[in-house]
């Protein structure tokens, strides 16, 4: 489980996150939905420990895997070497790291690119390696920051399938997005973020009931108060 309790974060004079509290339960995909600049990335960065909150705290029970905003691969390293490196950084032995890297290559369908340097990878291939790196230690909790951003249709579908599979395996999955379709396609629960605050939280149907709207798009626009910064 991942829990945000009254998170607040200021950069200089700008209040990026004002008051964010929510819980993402196990066995479930929770989406952090909001327009660009709503404080999604900052909230996630606090949850995975890169930033310290000015107030509030983040609670994560157990191991955490993170797919940050940028894939950030090393051009001269192969997919396998990336996975092996991540495994070693998680404290696995060399033998175990080798086995996990091989298993992850099979699981994410990366056999073709396994031993090629990352310099020539497509966006989708880069994101696959980054996802494999985040999952290499089989964490109970997974945070993904806009995982489908910049991917083409097949890669997006593959990524969504991976996200669903994680939740079905009982993991706690939290991912941020500004794309409405994505919420409808993969989410069990939604946390709606606007201007650094949580404006609504619940299952998609609960949000429809609360707003009295018949489709999700209208519901979100009503909750956020604007259409700006949302992607269809």
């Amino acid at each position: 489980m991942i829990e945000a309790q009254g998170l607040q974060k200021r950069f200089g004079s700008k209040l990026a996150v004002e008051d964010v509290s929510f819980a993402a339960p196990d066995g479930c995909v929770t989406a952090l939905l909001g327009p660009n600049g709503a404080g999604k990335t900052t909230s996630l960065r606090i949850l995975y420990g890169l930033l310290r909150p000015d107030a509030g705290r983040a609670v994560v029970d157990g191991a955490l895997g993170v797919l940050p905003d940028s894939s950030g691969l090393y051009a001269r390293l192969t997919a396998r070497e990336h996975l092996r490196y991540a495994a070693r950084l998680q404290g696995l032995s060399m033998k175990e790291a080798e086995e996990r890297a091989g298993a992850m290559i099979d699981r994410l369908g990366m056999r073709e690119i396994a031993d090629r340097p990352a310099a020539g990878f497509s966006q989708g291939e880069r994101r696959k390696v980054a996802l494999g790196r985040a999952l290499i230690h089989d964490p109970r909790n997974v945070v993904l920051d806009e995982p489908t951003n910049g991917l083409d249709v097949p890669a997006t579908r593959a990524m969504r399938r991976q996200v669903r599979e994680l939740a079905e395996a009982g993991k706690c999955v939290l991912f941020s997005t500004h794309i409405l379709q994505e919420v409808a396609a993969v989410c069990d629960r939604v946390v709606v973020l606007a201007r650094g605050r949580v404006v609504a939280e619940g299952t998609p149907s609960e949000l429809l009931d609360r707003t009295g709207q018949t489709n999700l798009e209208d519901a979100f626009v009503q909750l956020i108060g604007t259409e700006e910064g949302l992607g269809a």
């Binding site: 940050p68 950030g72 991540a86 950084l89």
Partner: protein, 392 residues
């Protein structure tokens, strides 16, 4: 060393070894210093072969047989002009002839009448290779004149010494050895610079570069202790730095063994033992430089900016280097505790053959390693600062 440090070290060393471009630039840099030294010493070897036979084109030699004999007795090989005397000027101007001595017809008449007999030395002063032979011919003709003057005075019953109220004796203590020492004085500078060259790119790549390509955040989310990360990166950079340093020393050693230098007749060669001792005293510096470079790179806003700072940093050792090599400063005790300066003093000591106690060497090594440790500790702390991590 933790297993995570080892993982970071392995990855960074592998990554750097595949980076052909920065590897080859580091290689060229480490060869640069010794090659400059080779050129300087080679030029020196050529210029000291002054005392060999000197070929001198003389026109009108038939007018002055005794002068010609004097020149020949003093190691000058007199050559007849290939062309008529009128074209000698143009031959010198065009560079076909280095210089020529012209003896006019009137020489015999004036000489017999005890009048100053004119001889002309034709040369091009803008040619630097003419300077030394011209001086030699000038001095020989001058000495011949003094000898004749002495004979003439003696024939008239006057002591030749009367005509020489002052005698300037030039005692040039600069020997080939001391000039070679001057050229060798550049060796410490190149060695100190080498410590700041080989690891430069990897120091930037693992810090500012890591942040710029967006791989720092994925790295930090693995919750690896920052000290482990910094230690692994530093060890990889240090490995390449030590290899570069070893290469620089090896090439310097080979250059100083070069046959040509035997003509210098000076002990410029580095013994294998001295070369190893030099390497030993440079190890702390080769470990300190990447630590400082990583710290500076982390503060830079971009890869390019880090590159600018570190290129300037290479020249830091040059300043004390020049002072010590060319000014003969006596080292003050405090200098032995300042990184870079301490190594400079130790290298000078070693090249001058001065024995230095182990305590002094340990203090120098300790001071430099302490500075390295401080840089690493600050770098590790910086990796917890949001501003540095996000590059704002």
């Amino acid at each position: 060393m933790t297993s995570k440090t080892l993982a970071v070290f392995t990855k960074e060393a592998l990554d750097a070894a595949r980076d052909r471009r920065s590897l080859s630039s580091a290689l060229i840099y480490s060869l640069f210093g010794p090659l400059v030294l080779a050129l300087a010493l080679g030029a020196l070897a050529r210029s000291t072969s002054d005392d060999g036979p000197l070929r001198l084109t003389v026109s009108g030699s038939e007018h002055a047989p005794s002068l010609i004999r004097y020149l020949e007795q003093n190691g000058v090989e007199v050559v007849r002009p290939p062309a008529p005397p009128a074209s000698i000027h143009s031959a010198v101007r065009s560079g076909d002839l280095l210089m020529a001595l012209m003896i006019p017809k009137d020489y015999t008449k004036d000489f017999r009448a005890s009048k100053p007999a004119r001889v002309e030395l034709v040369y091009d002063a803008s040619r630097s290779d003419s300077r030394s032979p011209v001086r030699r011919v000038e001095a020989l003709v001058q000495r011949y004149g003094t000898q004749i003057a002495g004979l003439r005075l003696a024939a008239r019953g006057v002591s030749p010494q009367v005509a020489q109220p002052v005698r300037l004796a030039q005692i040039d203590l600069s020997t080939a050895a001391s000039r070679a020492a001057l050229a060798l004085g550049t060796l410490p500078i190149f060695l100190l610079m080498a410590a700041f060259v080989s690891a430069m790119n990897i120091a930037i790549d693992t810090t500012a570069g890591e942040r710029e390509r967006g791989s720092l955040e994925p790295l930090l989310v693995h919750a690896v202790p920052r000290t482990d990360l910094v230690a692994g990166k530093w060890m990889a950079a240090s490995l390449f730095n030590l290899l570069g340093m070893a290469l620089t020393l090896l090439v310097s050693f080979l250059v100083l063994r070069w046959d040509r230098l035997e003509e210098l007749d000076v002990p410029v060669a580095l013994s294998p033992g001295d070369t190893l001792r030099l390497f030993g005293l440079l190890i702390p510096l080769a470990l300190f430089a990447p630590a400082l470079q990583m710290l500076i790179s982390l503060f830079a806003r971009s890869f390019k900016e880090a590159q600018t700072y570190l290129s300037l940093l290479i020249f830091v050792p040059v300043i004390p280097g020049f002072l010590f090599s060319f000014q003969r400063i006596d080292p003050e005790p405090w200098m032995r505790t300042v990184p870079v300066l301490a190594e400079q003093v130790l290298i000078s000591d070693l090249l001058r053959g001065q024995a230095v106690g182990p305590a002094i060497q340990l203090i120098a090594a300790g001071a430099t390693l302490l500075a390295a440790a401080i840089c690493l500790a600050v770098t590790a702390r910086m990796l917890s600062h949001e501003r540095i991590v996000l590059g704002r």
